[in-house]
Symmetry: C2
Subunit: 367 residues, 2 copies
């Protein structure tokens, strides 16, 4: 203690280091330019901070080939990440028909991932047991030690907070002895797309998933917006027909209900006619327009069963037709990039972006 520098300059440097470490923890690999942007530090200050962190082995730098891989770009830039040895996070998705477990380190590198099918009626306690078994199986197969586990992030079907979410959280916290974060699995897919997928590195991402259910999520500054009642991103329950039928959510004429009725009529996604797809796409574009006029995101990401121009062309047209020019000019629309493990990856991002406040401040200040 006594040998460390003290006084204002020391404090300022520590605080700057925290900002750099937090940005890397939340967003994974970043170039120096991206880091300067995220931390609002000058390039000169950042350069000095990064040098100190590299010397301490708190962060590592990836070479040219690695960097090109990391973001899928061809430009030869070097990227910084937290030292992969700094800890692990486990993500789980307890989905309707599939259980997925993914393990990553604090550098956002996936070190193991696998999934198993499960019957739709599998009870929740059983789903948790299956996921725990899968963690054991993966840690054995890949010889992973969970001694440096930072936390678990778990996606479940349905609203959160809920009794179910509480049961899942408590049983996993008891089993692993680390903080457990539970959220709706569609919202976690949104967070994953904003961290690893179509929205990696972007400031604000609105995600919508068109499947047998319609859900979404909003990620602002790399963090998932939960909302006052844990229901932010319920885009499937925005009305597309004010005189439409009542929905089980309590609303009327909801997009999800509209799509669900079409799927019943046609017998599933595979049988939808081009006109039916165009209708769904247009209604979805209208819903997204209302959401975009509210939050003016940088990017809309579309996930789910429908893809390609048959969906995206009419959707983009409706978005343009019903948004303020200024909202539309700053907006991009992209298909989702992640697959089965999207929600499990979102669970990992939830752990990395939402450490318990007090613990986080201790970690970064007293290390």
């Amino acid at each position: 203690m006594g040998t460390k520098p003290s006084g204002p300059l020391r404090l300022l440097r520590e605080t700057h280091e925290d900002r750099v470490l937090t940005a890397l923890r939340n967003q994974g690999p970043l170039t120096r330019a991206q880091l300067a942007d995220r931390t609002s530090l000058s390039r000169a200050t950042l350069s000095s901070i990064v040098q100190t962190l590299l010397a301490k082995q708190a962060v590592t730098e990836a070479g040219l080939e690695d960097a090109a891989e990391v973001r899928g770009r061809g430009r030869p830039v070097s990227v910084l990440t937290l030292n992969p040895a700094g800890g692990l996070a486990v993500g789980m998705d307890l989905g309707h028909r599939r259980i997925q477990v993914t393990v990553a380190n604090v550098a956002h590198e996936i070190v193991a991932s696998d999934g198993i099918a499960c019957a739709e009626r599998t009870p929740w306690t059983q789903r948790v047991k299956l996921a725990v078994d899968l963690v054991d199986e993966l840690t054995n197969r890949y010889e992973i030690s969970l001694t440096s586990l930072a936390g678990l992030g778990v996606g479940i079907v349905g609203p959160v907070p809920s009794d179910r979410a509480g049961v899942v959280r408590d049983s996993l916290a008891a089993r692993f002895g680390v903080p457990v974060f539970v959220d709706n699995n569609t919202r976690l897919a949104a967070l994953a797309e904003a961290t690893w997928g179509a929205g990696a590195g972007m400031g604000s991402v609105l995600y919508l998933r068109l499947s047998y259910g319609v859900g979404g999520g909003l990620v602002l500054g790399g963090r998932l917006l939960a909302g006052a009642g844990g229901a932010a991103g319920e885009l499937g329950h925005i009305s597309v027909d004010r005189d439409g039928p009542r929905c089980s959510c309590g609303g009327r004429g909801c997009l999800e209900l509209h799509l669900s009725n079409l799927l019943d009529e046609y017998g599933g996604f595979d049988n939808l006619t081009p006109d039916a797809i165009a209708d769904v796409a247009t209604r979805t574009g209208e819903v997204l327009a209302a959401a975009c006029n509210t939050v003016n995101p940088e990017l809309v990401v579309i996930g789910g069963e429908l893809t390609g121009v048959a969906l995206l062309r009419p959707l983009r047209r409706a978005l343009r037709d019903y948004t303020h020019t200024q909202v539309h000019h700053s907006l991009r629309v992209k298909p989702a990039e992640l697959g089965y493990d999207a929600a499990a990856r979102g669970g990992i991002a939830l752990v990395l972006t939402n450490p318990p406040e007090e613990a986080e401040w201790r970690r970064t200040s007293c290390s």
Copy 2:
């Protein structure tokens, strides 16, 4: 320097102090319970930090009578604020027909406020000059020194960023030599309601103003959401009629256009029939329902010319009919509480919540 404690404990305390000071700077007077909630500090830790800050005269504590006044509640609780001597912020609203200037200290106490009418066609350079003259007049009248001025926050009509916003910012920055923040004046009214008005102390506030224009703003965690193109909160341009006429914004069937056509038909707000008011209220409720399903706010605040049950009853009914139950259950709807000076107060809040990052970190770390 040498006499200060050093090492991890010192650092942890300084970081905790920063969190307390930032919460008070952003949100004004807070009780210890509110501070504990905002900073995620335990009551015991907070109590010790507050004692230190009181001893340093960085914060002050208001007695029972003052506290009851501050929040308009009858409960005798004591509140903490930053020391009023810590600096001033000036808020300006360069509105269509009125120019308003308000001055407050970092404790969120209004020390001077006044407004003057101006013709709608007054050029922007002339509006800025009128506002500067009003600042001079107020500082003379109340013997206010601007030597400790932290910044100016200015509301203007129309989109921000824009050329107009740049001209206003640059001319005021040259005149006062402090950071100047410019935003749309309806968004600033949203921030003011979330800081001083109907949403004081709340975590997420969605504001909508029904006037000759229809605008809004979204405040999350005490901070105004700007959006990727500076157009977050454009609730007046959410469509209420997908086959409706084109709006100047580029959209179609916008709420603002719908209201504007009704006002033309009836000759202004004073002549609207109960049925016409109910129609506007219902359409507004539908628009708010889409926005609320997107962000799930704690509170909706309604400002503008229409008030009372004639507006709020059908608006609340539509909100209930078109929101997800979980969104609706966590939602309150209240009329706006602030008057003419709402946007100018929002300008002050903008200065206090958005100091230049680097300067802010210097201020809290090196004091």
